[in-house]
């Protein structure tokens, strides 16, 4: 098994390579099937790793590397040794499972969903490359391979968000996604520079060991931590670098499913978890992460309340849910962050893929206020979507999200300023219930507000949705908060990530009850408010402040993008044109021309003046020769 590790990220890469080299020779449908097959190979290999692993008893060694495969030596210059290799430990195994399995389901769904679209081969090329990027990112043994995966995902997100490139706005959105996430990439690159300068190694296990040894000066550690946080918030679309994600909805819905569920936005969370020994030593940074997480969870949920574009609701819900994962990382509950990541991947992939079908059924209409009544026409989709929405709303006891999100909310209470963090998280949970059910009710209940073109889903599309819906419900039961229920995940991860601190006694019960209440109140409010909004044509969707997501995007345009543009103009017009060309270069040429003129003026054709010149020159020359022959000794 160990010798086949390379094939896990390798298979999608081979698929991508094949499509770009020979794709034009074969039909697009075969390309699509082959792309899916390649991801299936990855997913099967990952599952077989699980099988092999569960057969072994010995899984409690701390930070155990379960599998390791060296690939090749990339560079070796002095102590900068980059031997690319793949590593599987418990954390990466979970991420690999999510990326490859959910990734495969998305591929499977895409085969039919993207049928006969223009640029189908291009789509599957980037899709495969995306999975390759994510898998090499999570399996990286060193920072270079990690950075490679990280950047490849950025490129793929660009190409896929701008998939319908003929619309200028879509191309712009793709560019925005790449450029904003590249701010994070820059931070990560600088982090690599600082890490190498301090640790003289870029291998992740060795870095972790050195951090534990506590020999690095705390200022450098804080710097590294800060840079990693910037990298993570850009990639995971956290406040205030979330601006790219709501705009990244212009690609096909399956792309959104891939970006939001299986890859990309979870990368930031993984990066922080990967560096948890570092953050364990820096409580201040942890507090910052927790605060960013809770604030984002609250902010994005509030923004999602007023969105009318179906995909934008889902986009903000992703930002909000990732916020909970950040909050979990910030309070040291890494296991729960991973748990929520798994759950989120299931229901978010489900919601996005179904939303693609919904939008097709309404003839490319995105506005949920113009939908409605789809429940009677497409009952299967209705139940699937209901499960997804309820899981997003974290309906107590039934859905998986309840088991993953509520412990995070409880854990935030143990951090400094815990009361405020928990309050933000709870308010976020309440709004989550509200917006997710508002979305569901607006689409499926009531009477159709625009024409419906029922979309016949093939079995290849229904199957992934069914699997994801099943998982959205059941996967929660692997980790229950009760002493009598199964507790499989967190104790299993404890050897790598430690056990999270949870409040005890009355506080725990109170927060738990509040969490249940928040979810239920949110759902209830949605059932109350949504019909009213439809009736009066006035409601949540009209709150401009929330609809514009607190105007953060407009503010960033005004305070960052425009000044950047001015800075470019300053360089181009003022410094380059005026200072360099007109002042410096012209003055030099001016001086030369003046000198040249005065020289040429001396050539005035006056014989007497020439004679003077000759005489003085001859005398000077004579004097020089005499002085060199008979030097004056003072």
């Amino acid at each position: 098994m160990n010798s086949l590790i390379w094939l896990i990220p390798g298979a999608p890469l081979i698929g991508a390579g094949f499509i770009i080299l020979f794709g034009s020779l074969i039909s697009a449908q075969i390309c699509a099937r082959m792309a899916a097959l390649m991801v299936l190979i990855s997913a099967t290999l990952v599952l077989s790793l699980w099988v092999e692993l569960l057969g072994q008893a010995n899984t409690t060694v701390p930070n155990a590397i379960l599998y390791h495969q060296a690939l090749f030596s990339w560079m070796s210059i002095g102590d900068w040794k980059v031997d690319l290799s793949l590593t599987v430990d418990k954390i990466s195994l979970i991420m690999m499972t999510v990326a490859s399995s959910v990734g495969f389901l998305i591929h499977l769904f895409s085969i039919n969903f993207m049928k006969d679209e223009q640029g189908e081969r291009r789509y599957f090329f980037y899709l495969n490359l995306f999975i390759f990027g994510m898998l090499s990112f999570v399996m990286a043994h060193d920072l270079i391979l990690l950075y490679l995966g990280w950047e490849v995902m950025g490129l793929c997100s660009y190409a896929l968000v701008a998939f319908y490139y003929q619309k200028s706005h879509y191309a712009y959105c793709g560019r925005k996604a790449f450029v904003v996430t590249r701010i994070g990439d820059t931070a990560l690159a600088i982090a690599i520079m600082v890490i190498f300068a301090n640790f003289h190694s870029i291998e992740l296990p060795q870095i972790a060991t050195l951090i534990d040894a506590q020999q690095i000066n705390p200022i450098s550690l804080t710097l590294i931590g800060g840079l990693l946080i910037i990298a993570a918030i850009a990639k995971s679309a956290q406040f205030p670098l979330h601006v790219w994600l709501p705009d990244a909805m212009t690609g096909p819905s399956t792309v959104s499913a891939l970006i939001h569920a299986a890859t990309m936005v979870t990368a930031g969370v993984y990066l922080l978890i990967r560096f948890h020994p570092l953050f364990d030593q820096l409580p201040d940074l942890q507090l910052i992460i927790a605060f960013i997480g809770c604030l984002t969870a609250f902010f994005a949920a509030s923004a999602a309340l007023s969105q009318n574009d179906l995909k934008k609701i889902l986009a903000y819900s992703t930002i909000s849910q990732i916020g909970y994962m950040f909050a979990a990382v910030g309070v040291g509950a890494y296991g729960f962050a991973l748990f929520h990541l798994i759950v989120h991947a299931c229901f978010k992939a489900l919601l996005f893929m179904s939303s693609g079908v919904i939008i097709k059924a309404y003839n490319e209409e995105h506005d949920i206020r113009k939908m409605g009544g789809l429940g009677q026409k497409m009952p299967f989709l209705r139940y699937i979507y209901l499960i997804g929405s309820l899981t997003l709303a974290a309906l107590p006891f039934v859905t998986a999200s309840y088991y993953s999100k509520d412990p995070i909310i409880a854990a935030t209470y143990t951090q400094d300023f815990g009361f405020y963090l928990t309050a933000l998280a709870l308010l976020g949970a309440l709004m989550t219930g509200l917006y997710s059910m508002r979305m569901y009710l607006m689409i499926f209940s009531g009477t159709p507000r625009s024409e419906i073109h029922p979309y016949a889903m093939s079995i290849g599309m229904k199957l992934p949705l069914t699997i994801l819906a099943f998982l959205s419900i059941t996967i929660g039961f692997i980790q229950t908060p009760w002493s009598w229920g199964p507790e499989l995940l967190i104790p299993w991860l404890a050897s790598d990530l430690g056990l999270p601190h949870l409040p005890h006694g009355a506080i725990d019960v109170t927060i738990n009850l509040l969490g249940i209440a928040a979810s239920l109140i949110g759902i209830g409010l949605a059932c109350y408010l949504t019909p009213k909004e439809l009736k009066h044509q006035q409601g949540l969707g009209n709150v401009a402040f929330l609809n514009q997501a607190w105007y953060i995007d407009a503010l960033s345009m005004k305070w960052i993008v425009t000044p950047y543009y001015y800075l470019c103009s300053l360089c181009r017009v003022f410094i380059e044109k005026v200072v360099f060309f007109h002042v410096i270069e012209s003055s030099i040429t001016g001086m030369l021309i003046t000198g040249h003129r005065s020289l040429s003026r001396s050539q005035a054709g006056l014989i007497t003046r020439y004679l003077y010149f000759i005489c003085f020159g001859a005398i000077g020359l004579l004097a020089y020769i005499l002085m060199t022959i008979y030097p004056i000794h003072a």
Partner: protein
């Protein structure tokens, strides 16, 4: 053997000029085959020299009274540089293939430049170096003026003035160096082994600066870059490829081969200043590139931006950084050649690079669009491709010397992607601009996708970039000795001080 490398193109140039007069087709094929021949010859040397340490040398007296010798030598660094230069020249011929109609002139000039370039990389005598340096520049001036846009005369004049001034600085530097070393040691000789054997005792800063400015103009280092953007833009893309892909390398090569040995003390003194200048230049040109409305200008400024990083790395005087700097020469040459090759292909389809006249071209030309994206992201430093390998070395290495400037230069990662994507979006994405579809009189065939010659050309570059990105060690191995020599020399000189 080294003479063969240098003079094959030179003699071929003369032969073509004389015998292939007015015979366009023959001259064209002859030029390409000479370049290819030289390339494979050098490649053969690269493979046969299993032990790179054993250098091949030629040494004959030339003007003995002045201590000028005819010395050539080949080491790993020179080998990589001549290999890249010949490859770039080959690409340049292919790029110019159809758009040049006077191959009986263009071919010889190109071969002459190549010959000068190879001489520069192989010469081990200051005067010989200078002679080859001028041999490489003069044909370029004619290529600039003869084949370019209407404004190319103006740009060519500026190019010539900057170049001559820089050469003057260099010549003064060389002569002062010669005199100074002569005074120090009592032996007057222009050989590298003599001039660059020990740090100068006196006047070192001025000599260092004179030589450095002479080279830095070619690179071009900010703020000596003023000649470059217009020249790169107005010249024929094939000439720009030679200028930015091969000529700029000669500048950096000169700094690495000569300046680093003249005065380690001055290098250390200036280290912070020049690193700051280069880092600022990399950012500054990146910012300007963001606002260019011509694909050629974007490429020109991006080229300057990347070459400034190479200079920054030299002044970090650090193992990884110097390796990165040398690798950057290869990586930058390949990616910028790709971009300008595509610019030439767009020119053949009637687009002179103005972004306002393009738009939506991905639709009719998906292969060309995909290739352009590849070269853009390669230039922007996507991991797995050539530029990343060199840039991460430059940044990681420079950070050890100057965290501030290295971190500042790292901002070019995001600035780079911003200008490239903006340019790509305006050229390739969005709706098709109608003016590009309906040209004045021609049919739609001018929007045809890449044909096989163009595809071969670009595929060669893609393979080279991928190879460099995935296995940079093949290029780093031959460079090893040269880098170690530079570092040890500088470290020892400073320790002795």
């Amino acid at each position: 053997m080294l003479n063969t490398i240098i003079f094959t193109p030179f003699i071929a140039a003369i032969v073509i000029a004389i015998f292939a007069h007015q015979k366009n087709g023959i001259a064209r094929i002859a030029s390409l085959s000479i370049c290819t021949l030289t390339f494979f010859f050098i490649l053969g040397i690269a493979f046969s020299l299993s032990d790179i340490i054993s250098t091949v040398t030629v040494s004959r007296p030339w003007i003995q009274s002045l201590g000028i010798t005819y010395q050539l030598a080949l080491d790993g660094f020179s080998l990589v540089m001549i290999l890249v230069s010949t490859f770039i020249a080959m690409m340049s011929v292919l790029v110019a293939w159809q758009s040049i109609h006077r191959w009986d002139i263009f071919g010889p000039l190109l071969l002459m430049t190549l010959s000068g370039l190879l001489g520069v990389f192989l010469a081990r005598d200051m005067i010989l170096f200078y002679v080859f340096w001028e041999v490489m520049l003069i044909p370029l001036y004619f290529m600039l003026t003869q084949w370019g846009s209407q404004q190319s005369h103006h740009a060519a004049t500026r190019f010539l003035l900057y170049t001559i001034t820089a050469s003057l600085f260099m010549l003064i530097g060389i002569i002062c160096l010669y005199i100074q070393v002569g005074r120090d040691t009592g032996v007057y000789s222009f050989a590298f082994t003599h001039l660059l054997a020990a740090p100068l005792s006196d006047n070192s800063l001025w000599i260092f600066l004179a030589l450095f400015i002479g080279f830095a103009v070619k690179v071009p280092l900010f703020p000596l870059h003023l000649w470059a953007p217009d020249t790169y833009k107005e010249a024929h893309p094939a000439v720009t490829i030679l200028l930015s892909g091969a000529m700029a390398n000669a500048g950096v090569y000169g700094i690495l081969r000569i300046c680093t040995f003249v005065s380690p003390l001055s290098l250390t003194t200036l280290s912070n200043t020049i690193m700051g200048l280069a880092a600022t230049g990399a950012i500054y040109t990146g910012l300007i590139a963001y606002q260019q409305n011509n694909l050629r200008s974007v490429a020109a400024y991006s080229s300057i931006s990347h070459m400034n990083l190479a200079i920054m790395a030299i002044f970090a005087m650090q193992l990884q950084a110097i390796n990165g700097s040398m690798l950057q020469l290869v990586a930058h040459a390949l990616s910028i050649t790709g971009i300008f090759a595509i610019i030439a292909m767009l020119a053949a389809r009637g687009f002179d690079g103005e972004l306002d006249e393009m738009g939506g071209l991905f639709k009719p030309m998906p292969k060309l669009g995909a290739m352009l994206l590849f070269f853009f992201i390669a230039s922007a430093g996507l991991p797995g491709l050539g530029n990343f390998a060199s840039e991460i070395l430059i940044l990681v290495g420079s950070y050890q010397t100057s965290p501030l400037w290295a971190a500042f230069a790292a901002i070019s990662i995001v600035i780079g992607i911003a200008y490239f994507l903006r340019c790509y979006e305006r050229a390739m994405l969005g709706p098709i601009i109608t003016s590009s579809i309906e040209p004045d009189n021609k049919t739609h065939t001018h929007l045809s996708d890449l044909h096989w010659r163009e595809m071969t050309l670009l595929s060669l570059l893609v393979i080279a970039i991928l190879w460099l990105g995935i296995s940079p060690d093949t290029f780093l191995q031959p460079l090893h000795n040269a880098v170690t020599h530079i570092i040890e020399y500088n470290v020892n000189a400073l320790r002795g001080h």
